[in-house]
């Protein structure tokens, strides 16, 4: 099976600091992968490199064998770690925007999720609360039928109840052929849905294994092991 996301000796440096330091990684289709690591471990940098928002200092990142660009953007649905949607648009206009650019955008699915969150379509994004804005961004991202979902801190700024909704949204809209990569440090919340985990430590993959294998081998939860590995 060909890999969907590949990193070969990937390096990204800011001045003299290596955010990613020779990362080698392969992620297969049909998996839900947790990209876990403390702050500054390189999670967001990897997400951005995979989306072509940054250029590698050395090495390469490939999406389905291609360098990130116009073609890979139609395969990848990306949730950035910050509010990135135009604030002046209404929710309806944002749906039109996604439908215009992404043929795989499922408007019905999107409307159902927004109805469940009781977010009216006529409201402007800037008039919503911070949490609701994040939910709208997630809903739009998950309403695409993409092959690879790259979710950067999808639960960063929302309450615990909303976190359950987000996980449910990810699982409900997850196509078994697609891959979901979730970058987070809120491990306890995501652990139950993960197939694989990657521990990212100072720009390198310290661990990449199946969650079931990890539990069987160590007898610990992912959260417990994470705390042990990244103990300050």
């Amino acid at each position: 099976m060909s890999s969907l996301l590949t990193c070969k000796g990937l390096v990204k440096s800011y001045d003299k600091v290596h955010a990613l330091d020779g990362l080698d990684l392969t992620i297969q289709p049909g998996r839900i992968v947790g990209l876990l690591g403390p702050n500054g471990s390189g999670k967001s940098t990897l997400m951005k490199l995979a989306n072509g928002l940054l250029t590698p200092t050395a090495g390469e990142v490939l999406i389905d064998g291609m360098v990130p660009g116009q073609e890979t953007h139609s395969l990848v649905s990306y949730l950035p770690d910050r509010p990135s949607l135009p604030q002046w648009m209404t929710i309806r206009q944002l749906q039109d925007f996604y439908a215009d650019f992404f043929p795989d955008f499922d408007r019905t699915r999107c409307r159902e999720m927004l109805d469940r969150l009781e977010i009216p379509s006529h409201r402007k994004l800037k008039d919503l609360s911070k949490g609701n804005r994040e939910k709208v961004q997630l809903v739009l991202t998950m309403s695409r039928q993409a092959r690879l979902y790259l979710l950067d801190e999808p639960m960063g700024g929302v309450d615990p109840a909303a976190r359950d909704f987000i996980l449910e949204t990810i699982l409900k809209n997850y196509d078994p052929e697609a891959t979901v990569v979730i970058a987070t440090h809120l491990i306890a919340d995501v652990e139950k849905v993960l197939d694989e985990v990657i521990f990212l430590d100072r720009g390198k993959a310290a661990l990449h294994t199946a969650v079931d294998d990890l539990r069987a081998e160590t007898g610990k939860s992912v959260d417990a092991l994470f705390r042990e590995v990244f103990q300050c």
Binding site: N51, E71, S84, D100, F102
Partner: protein, 271 residues
């Protein structure tokens, strides 16, 4: 995809520009009526109202001009190089399409602004004699007519319409270059890790310096071409002057476009 990008770019900019343009023309029209009644024999419009309206019209015209420049800078900076860039640069569109969408809409608003300012001035001087009474307007009009009249009289191949077309072409070419003179330094400045705003300004000043150096040598180049290919025809001379200026602006714009495209494609840095 370019048309879709342009559609959203128009929506984003029109919500600011359209009300301002309407306000400018409307205020100019109202001021013109008030001025007219103030200056006629009855003097039915009070002086203070006329003065306030004149100031308001001038402010609205200034606001249209300022908004155009601010929007061109801001749309490129925040929509592509700021947080919104995380969504924009993950759309399945090419870098060319991103630049062209911003650029075409930017040039449209530049030309629309020139039109609105011209229209507002025309409104203010409804019956012609009124704005002839004001020295700055009179001087501007005289300078414009001095430019157009000899062009059409000494170069018989040129009609007044032809002269205006050449003038429009030159203005369009310089607007095209001006828009890219904003984009290129922004793209370059934001490709660095730190001090992005400061570096953008530095690149802007650097690019302006190079432009003035090159444009300063343009008359010598045209003289050299005239020396190599002597022409006595006024039409030929005008064609060389305006054509040379237009071609220079377009070549300059092409260089800036290439810089912008290369930077966004190979040095994009949305940290």
């Amino acid at each position: 995809m370019l048309t879709k990008l342009m559609k959203y770019e128009f929506k984003a900019t029109a919500r600011v520009m359209v009300p301002l343009c309407i306000l400018s023309v409307a205020l100019a029209s109202v001021t013109q009526i008030t001025l007219w009644t103030f200056l006629d024999e009855t003097g039915s419009s009070p002086y203070s109202v006329t003065l306030i309206l004149l100031i308001a019209t001038a402010a609205a015209m200034g606001a249209v001009l300022a908004a155009t420049v601010v929007l061109i800078v801001q749309r490129f900076r925040s929509n592509l190089l700021g947080d919104e860039g995380h969504v924009m640069f993950t759309l399945p569109v090419s870098i060319h399409q991103h630049i062209l969408a911003k650029f075409l809409v930017g040039v449209f608003w530049m030309l629309a602004t020139l039109f609105v300012l011209f229209e507002s001035i025309i409104c203010l001087g409804y019956n012609g004699t009124l704005w002839m009474a004001f020295p700055p307007f009179r001087e501007a009009l005289t300078a414009f007519m001095d430019f157009i009249t000899p062009l059409s009289s000494t170069a018989p191949d040129f009609s007044v319409g032809g002269s205006l077309a050449i003038l429009f072409g030159t203005v369009l070419a310089s607007n095209v270059a001006l828009c890219l003179e904003i984009y290129a330094p922004l793209a370059l400045g934001h490709s660095f890790h730190k001090h992005k705003g400061l570096l953008s300004v530095a690149f802007f000043l650097g690019i302006q310096g190079i432009y003035h150096l090159l444009s300063g040598s343009l008359p010598y180049l045209i003289n050299f071409v005239t020396y190599l290919f002597p022409t006595q025809s006024p039409t030929g001379v005008y064609m060389l002057d305006f054509g040379g200026s237009m071609v220079f602006s377009l070549l300059w714009a092409a260089v800036l476009y290439a810089i912008t495209h290369y930077t966004l494609k190979h040095r994009l840095n949305l940290e």
